[in-house]
């Protein structure tokens, strides 16, 4: 299998170059999968908490917290906010951590 690991050459054998460990493609891909999985799981938990409460405890969702605000409406707004936060976390991670690592691997292939 000819991947970046071979192309990176001898210094990759020790797993280091210039004193800094170069992440292999497999490690980077595994890291991305792990993060994607955790964030997906987080979104599922948030949303299905909302849906399952609607499905199984309608009276709790209908409970009035204050005039004009039921628990259901509050949780609905929280789900929207959670969507924004999780998306933002992923994009921030991808731009700061993933992109540079992927670029390093791509440069490795080019040489």
């Amino acid at each position: 299998m000819s991947t970046a690991d071979d192309v990176l050459g001898p210094d990759d054998q020790a797993g280091r170059r210039g004193g800094r460990r170069i992440e292999t493609f497999e490690e980077l891909a595994a890291r991305r999968r792990r993060i994607a999985l955790w964030l997906t799981a987080a979104m599922l938990v948030v949303y299905f908490t909302f849906i399952l409460l609607i499905a199984f405890d309608k009276s709790l969702m209908a409970r009035k917290l204050t005039d004009g605000l039921s628990l259901g409406i509050l949780l609905g707004v929280i789900v929207v906010l959670a969507t924004w936060v999780l998306t933002w976390i992923y994009v921030r991670w991808a731009n700061r951590s993933y992109e540079p690592a992927a670029r390093r691997l791509n440069e490795g292939v080019e040489r």
Partner: protein
């Protein structure tokens, strides 16, 4: 008084409509000179920026179902309508985490490019075309019905004339301007829709001390506290709620017209940033639907809303008339028309891509069709899809649009999403596993919809139905996964396994080592193997 005015064409309303159509045609004219290749026709030449695509995704996604349908459902049923608002949003992070980047890195024009990347082209693309067309058709029906109802009510035109007008404008836009015109119409529409909904929401709130809680409390005073909690109109049972939730969450990741938009950006990073923007815009819009729905319930009243349209689709325009009078009604109606036009164009284009790129070019011609032929076939396919949209829209007058879109999502979540996800994550996924998953997902979803209360009781007016759930996703989506896994384990696809490492590398790292991000095109697996 309200009733008398609607259906009686008003000068401002006509002016806004005409203005938008002129803008759309101007964009089309401008885009025409930039639409010479198949790549430009389907993918806007991969030149759209992340921010622009974020707006266009929002424009493609916030359909008549969102604006007219959800506002109507909330106005008539209260909290239950919000289940749709929230569900339509939560699919976006899933698209981002699991689908967007691999899709951009592996495909060319359709999501079938990705599923078929390692697998045998012919069977996979035929199956994917079935999945795509099933989703597109249901979605199109919803949009056309919304458009017809809207124009009929605004101008007193016959319903079929209204559908024909939308179809004609949409086809002109697509045939002449392709994806470039579609993208810009979607961007203009997204800005108009977000702006229009924001103004309408603020105007509404100004009657309630700018406090949404005052509005909700007022709605509860008039219609009972039940409107603020889950009722039994939209989700009758627990399983119904979960099934609808599944369909909405995973359906987004299987919508062909949304997936297609990721090919308009230059690379995976832009695809990522476009989802980020889209999620922000769409979430903001759905928060506004809380206010619009309850606002219409309180200020217009449930009686007048259901009197004009039983399904509630006219709640938002009626609210606009109530707070802002005729001119604002004209503006909001034009926005709703723009909304429908942009979505219909995106849908028709993705259906046309399935017919021409997947079926004609890759199945009939084994990927060998010359450029001019591809473009010609693309345009013929567009005409076919457009004609189908018009015919179905006329045939199925009177359905609630959010509801029909919910069913389209169920098919997308069952037919397209499982195969797409497994093809990019599972080495041992085989050609026949993919075909079985797509076909079983699509057929199960369609059959279950047919024997569900939705069709049997609401449409055919029978007293009971074979299948208890209104939305089939709870059964059809897991089944599509199971069938895909079992069939893959029973069959072997050595070429697909061998190619996994290369595909995996490409989907994670992209193809940035080549000068142009779009070349070389997807190297399909040789037809013979």
């Amino acid at each position: 008084m309200i009733l008398a005015k609607i259906g009686d064409p008003d000068a401002t309303a006509i002016a806004f409509f005409v203005a938008f159509i002129v803008v759309a045609l101007a964009i089309t004219y401008w885009a025409a000179r930039r639409t010479r290749t198949t790549e430009q026709f389907y993918a806007a030449g991969h030149t759209v920026s992340g921010f622009q695509n974020g707006l266009a995704l929002a424009g493609d996604y916030m359909s008549a179902a969102s604006f007219l349908g959800i506002a109507g459902l909330v106005a008539l049923f209260g909290f239950d309508g919000l289940i749709y608002s929230i569900g339509f949003l939560v699919g976006w992070p899933i698209v981002l985490f699991l689908i967007a980047e691999p899709l951009r890195n592996l495909g060319k024009y359709t999501f079938a490019d990705v599923v078929a990347y390692r697998l045998r082209q012919t069977p996979v693309r035929m199956a994917a075309a079935v999945g795509t067309l099933s989703v597109v058709v249901f979605y199109l029906i919803a949009q056309m019905v919304g458009a017809g109802t809207l124009i009929k009510l605004m101008f007193g035109l016959d319903y079929w004339v209204a559908v024909l007008i939308v179809g004609a404008v949409m086809m002109t836009l697509l045939l002449v301007g392709g994806m470039i015109a579609t993208t810009w119409v979607q961007i203009v529409k997204a800005v108009l829709l977000l702006g229009g909904a924001l103004v309408l929401a603020i105007w509404t709130l100004s009657k309630f001390n700018m406090n949404p809680l005052d509005l909700f409390a007022n709605a509860a005073d008039k219609n009972g506290d039940k409107v603020l909690g889950p009722g039994d109109k939209i989700v009758t049972g627990s399983a119904d709620a979960v099934s609808l939730g599944l369909a909405l969450m995973f359906g987004t990741a299987g919508l062909p017209h949304i997936l297609m938009r990721f090919y308009t950006v230059p690379d995976a990073a832009a695809a990522r940033s476009s989802v980020n923007w889209a999620t922000l815009f769409i979430g903001f819009f759905y928060l506004l639907t809380f206010v619009l729905g309850f606002g219409a319930m309180t200020l217009v009243g449930q009686g007048p809303i259901s009197e004009i349209d039983e399904a509630g689709n006219m709640a938002a325009p009626l609210l606009a008339q109530e707070v802002g009078g005729e001119p604002f009604l004209g503006f909001i109606a034009a926005v709703a028309f723009a909304t429908i036009l942009a979505v219909v164009a995106g849908l028709t284009l993705s259906g046309a891509a399935a017919l021409s790129h997947d079926l004609w070019v890759n199945v009939v011609r084994h990927g060998e069709a010359p450029e001019h032929e591809q473009l010609r076939v693309a345009r013929v396919a567009t005409i076919l899809m457009g004609a189908a949209a018009i015919a179905l829209g006329i045939a199925l007058e009177g359905q609630n649009v959010a509801y029909m879109v919910g069913l389209a999502f169920a098919i997308a979540a069952s037919a397209n999403f499982p195969a797409l996800l497994m093809s990019i994550t599972w080495r041992k996924f085989t050609t026949w596993g993919a075909v079985a998953s797509i076909v079983v997902g699509a057929v199960t979803a369609l059959v279950l919809i047919y024997i569900s209360p939705t069709i049997q009781e609401d449409v055919l007016e029978k007293s009971d139905s074979l299948f208890p759930l209104k939305n089939p996703a709870l059964v059809s989506m897991p089944l599509a996964f199971i069938v895909g896994i079992v069939v893959s384990l029973m069959t072997r696809d050595e070429v697909a396994e061998e190619r996994f490492a290369e595909a995996d590398r490409r989907m994670h790292l992209g193809i940035r080592t080549t000068p142009s991000p779009v070349e070389p095109p997807v190297a399909p697996r040789p037809a013979g193997r």
